[in-house]
Amino acid sequence: MSEPKGRGVAWTPSSPPNPPRGRGTSDEGRQRLKAPRRRASGKIAVTTVLLLFAFFALPELLSLYYIDTMTQVAVYSMVTLALGLLVGRVGLFSLGQAAVLAIGAWAAARLLFATTQPYPLVLLEAGLITMMGGLLIGLPALRLRGLYLALITLMLAGSITVVLATVNFPNGGHGFLGYNGSLLHIPPIRRPSIAASDPAYYRYSMVVAILMFALVLAHIKTRPGRAWAAIRQSEPAALAAGINIWFYKLWAFALASFITGVAGGVLAGAIHYLYSINFPTQDSITLLAVTLMGGVFSLWGAVIAGFLSQFLPALLNNWGVSADWLIILFGLGVLQVLTTAPAGLADQVPRDLARLRRLLGRRLRPRSARGDDAE
């Protein structure tokens, strides 16, 4: 037998584009290293400015309609963050994330009606409950890969939607399910007392989203991140390094389910009333599409995906255009990503902007300065 091949999934986005290889001298090596460090500090600065702007300035600038939309963007950025983690880091394709989000929302709503626990605690519990559900799904699903895993998770999402349509979301009723169909006055799902207004709740969901992004970052930069990177590139190499592939895949599943569950909890407070029609099975497919478009190798990809899935529809609605057109746009977008930019918009946009800047720089430079370039 020849070398055990890296047994990838049936379809995996190829890795981010590589710079040309070549045995570099140590001088080149050192020069190469300075650039990433400068870029890293630049990235941190840009991120901080954007976050401060989103946190303090945006609620002042936007109408309530768009503030609510931004809350949704924060929620769905967490969902696409989790999905991007599964797809990009471990190569697991899940088409059931909308259902996982629904489980988180259900658990949070039930806890919020039944108890007076502080909101952060409820979010944590909703995340943990969803994580348990995710693990139950993940255990058998880990035996599968690629298309079959996607199919199984899609069927599962469908069945969860059916179950939710039957048992309904809690609406302040009694019993385990907390649903009472004959209630005349349905109480809204409560929000934390410090974030009762829409702008305050937007800021609250931003903080939760930032915490979730930090949680993923902490994973990626340490032991599990290294293990996931190895598993994604080559399972034999991961095994040879002593990595328990099964355990780390399950860990990724658990983490992704936890984050999606927390997002569900934030969603519950954001929209006050939950119905199973909020979580159509089709959403899971759209979510995977926007996650791929945003880019699964960068955390920015999840933010972009959040905007694609929530901000664009809101914008179109506001303009009086049907958001259904987006399905076509997303279809084209995925096609474009698969063919030209496997690392998604998060990678492509900065790359193309830099190219544009170089091009403009060359055009705008006075002719005399270009003397050398001229033939």
Binding site: M1, S2, E3, P4, G6, S15, P16, N18, P19, R21, G22, R23, G24, T25, S26, G29, R30, R32, L33, P36, R223, R226, A227, A229, A230, R232, Q233, S234, P236, A237, L239, A240, A241, G242, I243, N244, I245
Partner: protein
């Protein structure tokens, strides 16, 4: 010290290893043979990727085959691959640290151990360099650094010099030769490059069609008539 007894591996109708028995004592040992002789299959059995039909492998007194594959790295089995498998997304440091954190050693010594392993290979790139920026020879050295970190006992090198230019091969030979004294491990080198094998290995075993046809001091083995016949074919 590794003792292999009656090891047989079959893929369907093909017998890749045929009741192979051999013993490697210490140092860097060569394992050569024509294509399809079963060298990589032997490594895959040791790594746990392939389950043999029959046979036993005792390494330093431990029954290796009864160990789960991912535990073998923790125990001290390391390997490099015929097609190099340095993880592109990670830096040089993270590639090596990944092995260290799944070894028996604690986190306190990790930073130093990882840098030691990288220095040992003489890699001329900074530890923070992402592997995807490295050339083929440098990636091979990253794999070797992964193989020597975290107290290895058995280092399996599967054609580490394949496709490398001569100067890089001679550097690699120098590194491989020093693995046993540096780590205390038994190193097994599979390669088609006879000059590399003679430069690195004191003893060498030869496989042909899954059977051991010769073993002993490298120079003697390379002059052995059965070995020459196996490589050149019977006249």
């Amino acid at each position: 010290m590794i003792e292999v007894n009656g090891l047989t591996v079959r893929y369907g109708g093909v017998t890749s290893l045929d009741a192979m028995s051999l013993t490697f004592e210490q140092g860097t040992c060569g394992l050569i043979g024509p294509n399809g002789a079963g060298k990589t299959t032997f490594f895959n059995v040791l790594s746990g990727f392939v389950r043999p039909a029959t046979g036993t492998v005792r390494a330093f007194g431990v029954d290796l085959l009864s160990m789960a594959h991912y535990r073998r790295a923790r125990w001290g089995v390391r390997r490099t691959f015929q097609t190099e498998q340095a993880i592109e997304e990670l830096s040089v440091f993270d590639n090596v640290a990944m092995v260290h954190e799944h070894s028996k050693l604690g986190g306190a010594s990790r930073h130093g151990d990882v840098l030691d392993a990288i220095t040992f290979t003489g890699l001329d790139a900074a530890p923070e360099t992402p592997v995807r920026a490295l050339g083929a020879g440098q990636r091979r050295l990253v794999e070797v650094a992964r193989a020597v970190v975290g107290r290895p006992r058995l280092v399996l090198l599967d054609e580490p010099a394949a496709g490398l230019p001569d100067e890089e091969t001679s550097h690699l030979a120098d590194v491989i030769r020093r693995i046993p004294e540096h780590t205390g491990a038994l190193a097994i080198l599979v390669d088609h490059d006879m000059s590399l094998v003679s430069a690195c290995c004191t003893t060498t075993a030869v496989l042909d069609f899954g059977k051991l046809i010769a073993s002993g001091p490298t120079a003697a083995v390379l002059r052995d008539e059965a070995v020459i016949r196996a490589y050149l074919g019977v006249a």
